[in-house]
Amino acid sequence: MVLEEEIPKFTAWIGPALVSWLFVAGLVTVFAAALAWLVQSALYGPLAAGDRVYRGVLGTLADLAGMSPRRIWALARLAVQESLRRNVLVVLGLFAVIVLFAGWFLDPASVNPGKLYLGFILSATNLLVCLVVLVLSVFSLPADIKAKAIQTVTTKPVRTGEIVLGRMLGFALVGTVLLALMGAVGWAFVVRSVRHEHELLADDVLEIRAEDGSISGFEGRMNLARGHRHRVELGPDGTGRTDTVQGHRHTVRAVETATGRAYEVGPTEGLLEARKPLRGTLRFLDRQGKPSTKGISVGAEWSYRQYIEGGSLAAAIWTFDGVTEREFPDGLPLEMIVRVFRTYKGEIEKGIAGSVRVRNPASGLQCDPIYFTAKEFTIDSLLIPRQLAATTTDGGTRQVDLFGDIVTDGRVEVVLQCLEPAQYYGVAQADFYLRRGSGSFVMNYAKSCLGIWFSMLIVTALGVMFSTFLAGPVALLAALSVVLVGQFREFIQRLFESQVTGDSKIVPGGGPIESLYRIVTQTSITLDLDPSPAVTAMKALDTVLLAPMRLGAALFPSLSALGTSDFLAGGFDIPWDLLGAHAMETLGYLVAFFIVGAVCLKAREVAA
């Protein structure tokens, strides 16, 4: 799973986030008041405009203070009734069709079917729920204003804030019910789709004999199920595990029956999991063994993973903090994702060999290498035992205790090296972790649905906010634009930086006008345009066009950033710290959209 940024502790995150929110909210408020005064000044003169803005602000505050839960609930109920009248439940039928198609067309023999199914179902759920609440929320209020039904509401003691909040609440309720139903169906679908059973026949199991003729174990192959089969290695007592295929394995146990020995194959392990990792920080050593800020780039444009050269002193070193004997009494359950970049093909069926060592960060004492073969695209696990061998300075070997000699003050280093010359290992900080255990998959699935719920709430609030001052179709476009800008906010931020600094390496190709010019003239984005007055004017215009987009990128929500389906599909427990941050971020946007909506509706003549 890709984790580009470290997940901060919620308690450390909330303070600065709140300050930042208050600052932006204050800035937007001042800007909006100034704009309102300017517009009113043009119509009524500066003094009257000041009076109107002042009274508007006071009126809004009084309205917000006088809101009644009963009225809000009445308006929320109305929104729910309206949604039902619009046959919103039809979307469940559409979802059922999508699930059917998923059952037919998704490949159960893929590398990681759990990830495939979960990713698909959650994406479909997210898209459908958000789309439905967006359509409901943008068209509701404009329809009421057009049909003048709003006049019988606003002539009651109803605050504009109640109208806005009631609608947000009502449509959010509809979205929540849809999400709950789709989530439940999706969960059942995924679990049913990945669940499978293998059979291990006694005839398919061969004995492994030691040199003295005794049985040292068994090996065999299971039958084909869901497009794959497992190899199995069993101990002398007939128990063991299969190899990992398609991201999972099975336990196997021999049982004696009247007709002879048979094998019981357990359910899938590792497919629908919620791993709880203890993550460390990553640093690199270059090929001479000197500290380096990063590894080698092998030319991929995305520099998430850095590479270390094989057969050299290059190493990737993770430092883990908070490692205790109490939590890991049997040793360190290291799990790792190692990407491989081959400069020559070699034996493609055979993995690239590497080693892992644990090291004392204070004394430098390290154990002897533990060898492994990198398995690409799957999570490899390695239990680093309590008792380890370490080479002494005189070339001898001595036993060291993991917690007695290696772990110091809860800190330990894990050193990864690639052993094959001219081959490379690619790793990122999140690729190595110590497994703390597993959370409940059902709970993790629910947490992931919570991420979708946050997106749905934001989309609902956004739609209602725009509908307070725009006609339905325009409000729909506006909301979609905000979502789109939010989706690309990091790109837009970098693009603007590139535009302002003139550094085309940050984002090559320029702004919208320059990009259009390059498309029309078929000029590569890597080529700098020859300086001329026309190019200067074009770049200046791009900067002007990008400025509001940059502002939007700073303000608008990124729905994809709220999603946590990557964690779920990757088999990782979704951290509560992350969910807490997302919840507060969502709340921040909801409050902002609600206030903007209430102010806009109050300033609007609903019967004009």
């Binding site: 309206e82 009248r85 003048k148 039904a149 006049q151 003691p157 605050r159 019967a607």
Partner: protein, 307 residues
């Protein structure tokens, strides 16, 4: 324009329920340019307990005035005060009932749900909502149709549920925009009776209409608007009184007495003398026929038989 002191001279200021001071409205386009002057500066006071009529042809500014008083639109200049508060102050709505020109209700709700919904908007507790809704549904005669969605209602039924929602909070001030619009003569009569009943219960009613007979029948005072401007304001009987004409009505006079009267009137210089039998209104005739038909089903109405 007439200066009008209001219905009760010397009344205290707290008796003024509605006041418009230099109230005007100009509709503007997107760029702020003046598009239409809907209401020229208007000064008006409406006092507690009166039925006030806003009279004028279509586009005269009646509905604009009403919307300004309700805070549905904002004045271009001047101010509108309701219960002494600015018309845009929503708290005034606690004491107001409003029936719009068309009954703009949620058609996917039934009558009970509609009244329950509006009752909730007044923050009324459930028992009170139920009690008020039942009473109002019975009052407007929709008890048998209370479970039907409003989309299935006729225009008259929609109008009746509209008046019920306007009265859900037992308001002190009722604003009725074209209250008899779309009603048949019976419905019109019932509506007018209801308005008079509201007055009897101490309510203040403001109604707008271009149906002169309706206004004349129920209103204490009227304001005549034309092209957004107030043209007349005063008590109905004062405005309608023809001061240089004398009307004499009597029942059971013989023909000789009529001739004698005519002679007396001529002797005193009376001009354009008319003496004859008065005619009733078409509305009265219609209601008489309906009442008679309902009392004697299957028979021709007595009035018709007489003719």
């Amino acid at each position: 324009m007439h200066a009008d002191p209001g219905p009760s001279r010397g009344a205290h200021d707290h008796d003024v329920i509605v006041a418009a001071r230099n109230l005007s409205k100009t509709y503007r386009d997107f760029w702020g340019r003046s598009k239409k002057v809907a209401l020229k500066p208007l000064d008006l006071e409406i006092r507690r307990g009166e039925i006030f009529g806003l009279l004028g042809p279509n586009g005269s500014g009646k509905t604009t005035t009403m919307k300004l008083l309700l805070g549905l639109i904002f004045p271009t200049s001047g101010e509108a005060l309701v219960f002494g508060r600015d018309a845009t102050d929503v708290s005034k709505n606690e004491r107001i009932g409003y029936l719009p020109e068309e009954t703009y209700l949620y058609k996917f709700l039934d009558a009970e749900e509609t009244l329950d919904f509006y009752g909730r908007l007044f923050d009324m507790p459930p028992e009170e909502r139920k009690r008020r809704a039942d009473a109002l549904i019975a009052m407007v005669g929709l008890a048998r149709d209370k479970k039907r969605q409003l989309r299935e209602y006729s225009k008259g039924m929609t109008r009746r549920i509209g008046i019920a929602q306007a009265l859900i909070n037992d308001p002190e001030l009722v604003l009725l925009d074209e209250p008899t619009s779309g009603l048949d003569p019976i419905g019109t009569r019932e509506m007018k009776d209801l308005i008079i009943d509201l007055k009897k219960r101490g309510k203040t009613v403001i109604m707008s209409s271009h149906l002169l007979a309706d206004v004349e029948d129920v209103c204490d005072r009227i304001a005549v608007l034309h092209q957004g401007e107030l043209k007349e304001l005063g008590r109905v009987e004062d405005l309608l009184r023809v001061t240089d004409v004398t009307q004499i009505r009597a029942r059971g006079l013989p023909a000789a007495a009529v001739d004698e009267l005519r002679a007396v009137l001529q002797r005193h210089g009376g001009a354009d003398i008319e003496i004859g039998n008065p005619t009733t209104t078409l509305e009265e005739l219609f209601l008489e026929v309906v009442r008679d038909t309902e009392a004697r089903p299957g028979r021709r109405a007595r009035q018709a038989e007489k003719n």
